[in-house]
C-alpha cells in the first residue's frame, strides 16, 4: 500500500492567527494538507523579525517576519499569507493587512509558494475566497465546499466557546482534542471586573503583553476580553459622530465592545492594549479616552513595543488594580454605592 505523503502548509503564529486559526486549520486539514504552526513567540523570534522588517513598522508585523523565518526552518511546501481586505460589509482592515502578501513577497527571499486568500466582503462572498484558496492547491469544487462548510462550523463552535468565557489557548485546546458540547466551570474571583480590550494579536500573545493575563488572574481579578462578550453586540453599527461611519473592521469590534462595556454597571476598569505606531488605534484610543473621562470610568492605555520593560508594565497594572480595589472597599464601608447615570449612546 502506498502511503500518501501529506504536503505541509505553514501558518505563522501572529496577526490574524489569533482570530481565524481554527477556521484555517480545519479548512486546510479537510483539503488534505498538514498544518504546521510556528513556535510560540520568544525573544529570538522578535530579534530575527526586527532584522527583516524596517524599523518603523509596528511590533505585530515584526513578529510576523520572525514567525515566517521560524517556519522556513521547518521545511514546508506552502506558506499561507492571507489578504484580509474587509471582514464585514463596507469596512476595511488596516492598510498593512491589505498589502500583506505583497509586502512579504517584496521583502523576503527563498519563500515557498505563497497561498493567498483575498477576503473582501465589500465585493464578494466568503465562499469565493475559499474557492480561490482551494484552486491554488488544485482541489475540486466539491472538496472545497465540504472543507469550507466544516471550517465555518468549527469556527462558530470556537467563537461560542470563547463567548462562554474561555481564553484563546483554552478554546484551542478543546478544538484540538475534539471535545463537543463543552461547558466551562466558573472561576473564583474577588468581584473586581476588568476588561482588557485590544487587537487579538496583542491580547492573546503572552509574550507581547508580558503575561498580563496570568498577572491579573493571580490578583484574583475577573478578566473579560473582547471575544468573551455576546455575539449580538458586534452586529450593530457604532456611531463616532453623526456624519462619520467607522470604516475599520477591527476597530469597529473594539468600539462595539467598549460601547457595550461602558453601559455595563458591573465593570470596574478598562485596560486598552495597543502596539506602538498602530495607526487606527492612535485615533480610537483618543476617542475612548475622551468617553471614559466623560463617564468617569477608570481607564488605562498600555502601549507595547519590543523594548518594553516587563517591570514597568507590571507596576502600572498593579497600581491600576490596587486603585480599583481601594475604591471598591471605600464604597463598601460608606455603603454609598455610586450609581452611574446610564450613558445614552456612544457618541461624540
Amino acid at each position: 500500500m502506498v502511503v500518501e505523503i501529506k504536503k505541509k502548509i505553514g501558518i505563522p503564529r501572529s496577526l490574524l492567527y489569533y482570530k481565524y486559526f481554527p477556521l484555517w486549520k480545519t479548512f486546510f486539514e479537510e483539503l488534505g494538507l498538514e498544518v504546521v504552526v510556528s513556535d510560540k513567540s520568544n525573544s529570538k523570534i522578535v530579534e530575527i523579525g526586527g532584522r527583516y522588517a524596517i524599523d518603523e513598522i509596528c511590533i505585530p508585523l515584526k513578529l510576523y517576519y520572525g514567525h515566517l523565518v521560524n517556519l522556513l526552518e521547518k521545511d514546508i511546501d506552502y506558506i499561507f499569507v492571507p489578504r484580509y481586505i474587509s471582514t464585514t460589509f463596507g469596512t476595511y482592515m488596516c492598510p498593512k493587512f491589505l498589502g500583506l502578501p505583497d509586502l512579504i513577497r517584496g521583502t523576503m527571499d527563498n519563500l515557498p509558494p505563497i497561498i493567498e486568500m483575498d477576503v473582501d466582503l465589500r465585493k464578494k462572498p466568503k465562499y469565493a475566497s475559499a474557492i480561490q484558496t482551494g484552486r491554488q492547491l488544485h482541489r475540486s469544487l466539491r472538496q472545497i465546499r465540504k472543507a469550507y462548510e466544516k471550517a465555518i462550523k468549527t469556527y462558530h463552535y470556537f467563537r461560542n466557546l470563547m463567548v462562554k468565557g474561555l481564553t484563546f489557548q483554552q478554546a484551542m485546546n478543546i478544538i484540538n482534542k475534539n471535545i463537543e458540547n463543552f461547558e466551562p466551570k466558573p472561576r473564583k474571583h474577588n468581584g473586581v471586573k476588568i476588561a482588557v480590550i485590544g487587537h487579538g494579536y496583542n491580547i492573546h500573545d503572552p509574550f507581547i503583553n508580558m503575561n498580563l493575563f496570568k498577572k491579573l488572574r493571580s490578583m484574583k481579578v475577573q478578566v473579560v476580553t473582547l471575544e468573551n462578550l455576546p455575539l449580538e453586540i458586534f452586529k450593530k453599527q457604532t456611531i463616532i459622530t453623526n456624519t462619520l461611519k467607522n470604516y475599520w473592521g477591527n476597530e469597529e469590534e473594539i468600539l462595539s465592545a467598549v460601547n457595550y462595556l461602558f453601559q455595563d454597571k458591573t465593570l470596574d476598569g478598562l485596560i486598552f492594549i495597543c502596539s506602538f505606531c498602530c495607526g487606527p488605534d492612535s485615533l480610537i484610543d483618543e476617542l475612548i479616552t475622551r468617553d471614559a473621562k466623560k463617564l468617569n470610568i477608570p481607564y488605562i492605555s498600555l502601549v507595547l513595543d519590543e523594548h518594553s520593560g516587563q517591570a514597568g508594565v507590571i507596576t502600572r497594572i498593579e497600581a491600576f488594580v490596587d486603585m480599583i480595589i481601594r475604591k471598591k472597599r471605600g464604597q463598601k464601608i460608606t455603603k454609598e454605592v455610586l450609581i452611574q447615570t446610564p450613558p445614552s449612546q456612544f457618541q461624540g
Binding site: 522588517a53 524596517i54 518603523e56 513598522i57 481586505i85 476595511y92 482592515m93 488596516c94 492598510p95 498593512k96 491589505l98 498589502g99 502578501p101 505583497d102 509586502l103 512579504i104 513577497r105 517584496g106 521583502t107 527571499d109 463616532i240 459622530t241 456624519t243 462619520l244 470604516y247 475599520w248 506602538f276 505606531c277 495607526g279 487606527p280 492612535s282 485615533l283 484610543d285 483618543e286 476617542l287 475622551r290 461624540g348
Partner: protein
Amino acid sequence: MMRLKVTFPHMGYNWVCFKTLVEGMGAEAFLPDYNNVKQLDPGLKHSPEWICFPFKVTLGNFIAALEDGCKVIAMATDCGPCRFGFYYAVQERILRDLGYDFEMKYLPQGDLLTFEWVDLLKSLCPDKSLFNNYLVFRTARLFLMKCQLVQDIEKYEGLTRCYEINPGETTQIAKKCVQMVDAANRYYKLRQLRSRIRRMFREIPQRKRNGTLKVGLTGEIHVTLDPFTNHDIKRKLGELGCEVHMDLSLYDWIVHKFHLNFHRKYLEYLSKTHKKIGGLQMDIGGEAYWVLGEYINWAKRGFDGFVHTYPFTCMPEITAKSIITKWYGDRIFDLPPAFFPFDEHAGEAGFVTRLEAYVELLKTRKEKMKNGTRRN
C-alpha cells in the same frame, strides 16, 4: 444676506485653489497665517500622541482660525483604509471639547464622481436660488484651472532652480506667479496666465551645468506639497544642484478622483505587473500604490535619485518603503532611494546634513558611472 466666513487648512501653494472654491460661491475665505511653529504648538498639545503629522498641522491651523473668530471650517475627507477619513471627526471632537463654537463642513472626496461635493459648495452659497447651479459650475472650472496653474508653478520651480544664476530668484518668481494666479478670477485671464507663467520661468537667467542630478520627489500628498511640513525639501534639493521632478500635485489627485488620470493608471499598471517581486496589487490608502509605480517608472527612465517623504507612522507609505528598500538592496532596480519621515521633532541641521550626504553620494555615483569605475 449673511456671508459665511469659512476657513480651510494650508497645503503649500494650494490655498489659492481652496480660496477660489470658497469665494466663488459667495462666502468669505478666512486664511490663517501660513503654517509656523507658533501655530503648530496648540495643535501638538491637543492631538493624540502618535497620529500622523498632517493631523497636528491642520489642527493648529483650525485653532488659529477659531481664535480669530472664524465660525465655519471646511475639511476634506476620504473613505479609504488610511487615517485621513477620521481627521475631521476627531478634530471636531477635540475642538468641541476645547469649548469652541463652530460648524464643521466636510468634503467627501473618496470618489468625486458621486458629486457629493456639489452639496457642500451649495451650502456655502448665501443665494439659495437656482442661480447657484451656475455658480457651482463656474467655481469648479476656476478651481480646476487654478489647480493646473499651481501644478505648473511647482513643476517649473523644481526644474529651473538648480540652473539659476542669481540664487533665490526662482523662489521669488514662483511667489509672484502664485500672487498672479490668486488675483485672476476670470477664466480667460487664467488661460492667458498659463503661457505667461511658462515664459516667466524661462526668462530667469540660467546657466547650463554639466552633471546635474535628476531626482524624483514623491510621497504622501500633504507632506510632499507643504514646505513647512517637509522643511522645504524641494528648495534644498534644488540649491544642492538637483533637478527635482515631481508628478504629484493637487490637480493630479483631483483628476485621479474623477477617474481620468491616465498617468496614475500607468503607474498602477507598473506596480501590478511586478507582482513576483512584491509590487502592490491594490490601493492600500495613502500614495503607496503610486509611489511604487513612480519608483519603477523613474528607475526605467534612468533617474539619479528618488526621495520619498511621508509622515512618521504612516501605514501605507511604510509598506511602500519596505518594498523599495528591498528592491534597491537586491539591485532589482538601480535607483538609490532616500526616505524622509517627518514629525514635529524637527532638527533642521540633522535633516540638511542627511540631504547633503545623499546628494554627495549621488554625485559620486554618477561620476563613477561616467568613468566606468563603478563596482556593484
